[in-house]
């Protein structure tokens, strides 16, 4: 069934969009990532103009993250205090990021910057996660007690605070910095930032994996909502028709994903996420390196 999208001004298959939303929703619920880093390139691929894909993608991320975070809240796996601390840094970062984006746009080459940031960050994060999670899996196979590093930089800095749900007593400075940094990146890359936030929480803040996913979703809601509003207000690029179809697929997928996530081991979840991140990274890198069949492209002013 074809449907005409009022803002994107293209006609696409409604079931394809529902399916895409569903797929990304499942990943969102399983891994605690908003799924924007996957959804946005997929939307480009089916012919949605990039500016509209980015803006509408963030709206879908809001819906699937809410659906996911409610499931996590009931299971008590959201550290609200940590989420709020991260968010305070995140919103400031997102605002700074939007400004930086506008500045780079005035210089031109913003597309290249976006793609390069994707390749670099996805590559680093995916690679590190894969190595770490394979090691962790091998440790658990050999029946050794998994050793978590209990003391990092977060323990020695001032302004210490107790995060009960995470079982941590650490300084608030690292979470605020992590939040800010992720906020900047999510504004530039047009994503919620979960794929950066999740590893940062695990490896920098040493939060337990179970808590990480719910907490990440919690703060993604606000960052994505802020970004959606900015895009709708400044660029008129949020397509409600597209958003509704993606959302319907996404919210159902997120519920399914949360249930799948409860059944598989944390280490396995991490390997899967790492492979996914690396896959997207390689795909984007390939696009930069290989000569395109059409070297010309059209753009609006």
């Amino acid at each position: 069934m074809q449907i005409y999208l009022p803002i994107a001004e293209v006609s696409v298959n409604a079931f394809l969009l529902l399916g895409l939303g569903g797929l990304v929703g499942v990943l969102s619920g399983m891994f605690g990532v908003g799924g924007g880093f996957l959804l946005t390139p997929l939307l480009f691929f089916i012919g949605i103009p990039p500016a509209i894909a980015v803006a509408t993608g963030t709206n879908q991320v809001v819906a699937s993250s809410i659906s996911g975070v409610l499931a996590h809240l009931r299971r008590g796996t959201v550290d609200l205090k940590m989420g709020t601390v991260l968010l305070s840094g995140g919103l400031v970062g997102a605002f700074a990021g939007v400004r930086l984006f506008a500045y780079l746009q005035s210089l031109g080459q913003v597309d290249l910057l976006v793609t390069l940031s994707y390749v670099v960050f996805l590559g680093i994060i995916g690679g590190l996660m894969l190595i770490e999670s394979v090691r962790a899996l091998m440790r658990s196979r050999s029946n050794a007690v998994p050793k978590r590093r209990k003391h990092g930089i977060a323990h020695v800095l001032p302004f210490k605070s107790r995060f009960r749900t995470s079982g941590l007593y650490i300084s608030v400075i690292p979470p605020v910095i992590v939040g800010f940094f992720v906020g900047v990146l999510s504004a530039i890359m047009g994503v919620g930032g979960g794929f950066i936030m999740v590893p940062a929480m695990i490896y920098i803040l040493h939060m337990p994996t179970k808590v990480v996913i719910g907490t990440s979703l919690f703060q993604i809601i606000f960052v994505a909502a802020f970004t959606t509003l900015m895009h709708a207000w400044e660029n008129h690029t949020v397509d409600l028709g597209l958003a509704v179809l993606l959302i319907v697929g996404g919210v159902v997928g997120a519920q399914v994903g949360t249930r799948i996530g409860m059944r598989i081991k944390a280490e396995q979840t991490r390997i899967l996420l790492a492979l996914l991140v690396l896959g997207v990274c390689l795909n984007l890198a390939f696009g930069l390196l290989v000569e395109p069949s059409e070297i010309y492209s059209l753009g609006n002013e």
Partner: protein, 255 residues
Amino acid sequence: MRVLAFLFLLLAGTSTATAQVEEGIVAGLSQNRVSIDARFVGSEILVFGAVKRDAPAPEGPLGVVIVVQGPNEPVIVRRKERRFGIFVNAENVTVQEAPTFYAVATSGPFDEVLTVEDNAARLVSIDESVWVMDTDATDNEQAFADALIRIRENDGLYSRQESSVRVSQNTLFDAAIQLPANVTEGLYQARIFLTREGRIIADQVSYVSVQKVGLERWIYNLAHDLPLVYGLLSLAIAIAAGWIASAAFRMFSRT
């Protein structure tokens, strides 16, 4: 048989001096507005008409050229180049006036129906209508104009259909022009040219309005007129949908 008839007409045309007989066009369109709604998958505009004559038809082959074009809009054409091993947008050229849609239909091979001079004078073919002004940005303006035409042809926005105009009894003609789903809104122009021996002897212009209607129109207007309200509405839908899905699944898993 056709070849013979054509030869005969050609002979007749050259032997008798081309008498100036007034010929005109009486033409119409199947629709004067195209509505874009949620189920819009493109549309077809039927152009039909007749040759009006006060005297017997003059000699020389008759030709009909129909041009349907969408509103002009500026567009940036960018070219990628390999720099430091990766492909990046390098040169770019802004085309101030490029039609968003351009379809040419003719009653025979383009070069036979229309002379090069008249094509250039009346800006009929696509390459006559799209051209790039000299800029310092590049020394190969033509390549950018060609790229623009090529990309839009692949998108189904520009087309040239030779021999797609049916002419019967040297008087009646009709052609169907396809509008794809990705057309731009605005006032479309349908130009009809009547030619004898490739020279334009009459022309007529009609207009078609292409517009969003209903919900599509409402959403589009809201997004542009009240962007903050629109943004909040988008968020409200997202929040409500997320909550409803969560609540629904909880009920489902309890039972």
